[in-house]
Amino acid sequence: MINLNPLWDWFRTLHETTGINLTIFYDPFDRARFFNGFLTSLRLMAICLVASVVIGVVGAWVQRSRMLVLRAITQGYVQFFRNTPPLVQLYFFYFALGSYVRITSPTGLSVPAVSNFSWAAIGLSLYAGAFNIEIFRAGIEAVPRETIEAAEALGYSRLKAYVYIILPLAFRISLPALNNNLVNLVKTTTIAYAIAVPEMLYVANQIWSDELNVPEMMNVLLVIYVSLVALLVFVMGRWERALRVPGYTPA
């Protein structure tokens, strides 16, 4: 283990000499709760990123279904989540749905069956997933009809053509728009604050209420979110390059 005490002491001295109060470094209690908030944010982001992409892929497939009912349901879902504010959605899940979904605990009390973290993960995944469906749909529409026909002529079923040909091509076309939406999702996880999920913004608020160091914590949040988004953009950029096909420029 590296001894980080000199670093923590440096932040304490910084506070004493300049007044810049970063308790999250030199105060063990603040450090622990901020780190937990950071991890909670990361978990929420990771779950929502994966789940929203899965929703997008599956939803875009269902939108091509021959069954009108399935298409209508998907379309309804997309419209609902695209056209209402994410914060309202989250409140709806947590306060409206959450009040119905309750179980009786071993002690006999009625408690929520779904935690606020889970509601945030579900709500944000559905929110970003709705946009991902539209993003993938646009990518699918850009795959030439003739390419799909060639797959059909080789005996590919609809599902196999989707998995092996349509989706890989649509995905490449969709990546820039998907990047945007995922960046947006990473930032939007902060609204989990509103239903008391102890994510980064929430714990930062607790800390600045206790320590009265609002400007410092604001800057900390700024730096961390910029870094996280930069990391995501970097990874997505690498992915985009890895998927690039020689001699092929998507439409």
Binding site: T147, G155, L169
Partner: protein
């Protein structure tokens, strides 16, 4: 229905009608293709030649009539399209390769994904097919890195990998540079010489004359006239055929 035997037409097209909206594309077309036959379908654009090929492969449903492939009615709601498409290979004007996979992958994909055959075995065959279409050394190239003629030969190999009983060629040289047309035609000729049953829609009259067992001239959705090449080109009877031939020969 009695089982199909090789002495019956491999493809039997009878009185097929098809319209797209108000446009009558196929207007009672009939023809037979025997096993091992090479037939060429020629005619002015809009005659329904490409549409006919697509109907044989069940890519386009017909309004009326009958298309039997090895005795199996193609336009039957209960048709197993996969089984049909295993028998019928198709090569398109625009190649339509899968751009995200290498040439070799393009050839291997359908046998692995559709027929669920083991990869090692498929790869051996695919490499042999790449040699057959004279593309040895291009296995790792992506379609975007190949010339039109090379792409079209990959497309032919891709179809052959499914071991079809009949190959449909839909104006496969129409999008090619004049100098690469030949390499594709050579490949098709070799296939024909090996006994592959072929239905070829083409504008290459010299090629049709040389390769076909039977030439069909179509116009406005019907067969106007047909016959063996020597007879057809020398002694066409119908004025429409003569007019068409005089324009292009």
């Amino acid at each position: 229905m009695p089982a199909w035997t090789p002495d019956q037409p491999l493809i039997r097209i009878r009185d097929v009608h098809l319209s797209f909206g108000a446009v009558q594309v196929l207007n009672g077309i009939s023809l037979d293709v025997m096993k091992g036959d090479v037939i060429c379908i020629i005619g002015p654009s809009g005659a329904g030649k490409s549409t006919l090929l697509r109907c044989v492969n069940a890519l386009v449903p017909i309004d009326r009539g009958s298309i039997l492939v090895e005795g199996q009615e193609v336009h039957d709601a209960k048709l197993d399209k996969l089984a049909l498409r295993r028998k019928v290979g198709m090569v398109f004007q625009q190649y339509n390769l899968f751009p995200h996979r290498t040439a070799l992958d393009n050839v291997m994909m359908a046998p692995i994904h559709v027929l669920k055959r083991p990869r090692g075995e498929v790869e051996q065959e695919a490499r042999a097919l790449m040699r057959k279409v004279r593309l040895e050394g291009k296995e790792g190239s992506y379609p975007g890195e190949l010339s039109g003629g090379q792409q079209q030969r990959v497309a032919i190999a891709r179809s052959l990998a499914m071991q079809p009983d009949v190959m449909l060629f839909d104006e496969v040289t129409a999008a090619l540079d004049p100098e690469t047309v030949k390499e594709v035609l050579v490949t098709i000729r070799e296939l024909a010489e090996e006994g592959m049953t072929c239905m070829i829609v083409t504008h290459e009259m010299g090629f049709a004359r040389e390769i076909a067992d039977e030439i069909y001239f179509t116009d406005r959705g019907v067969v106007v006239e047909h016959g063996p090449p020597a007879e057809f080109f020398a002694h066409s009877r119908d004025p429409r055929t003569r007019q068409f031939l005089s324009q292009i020969l």
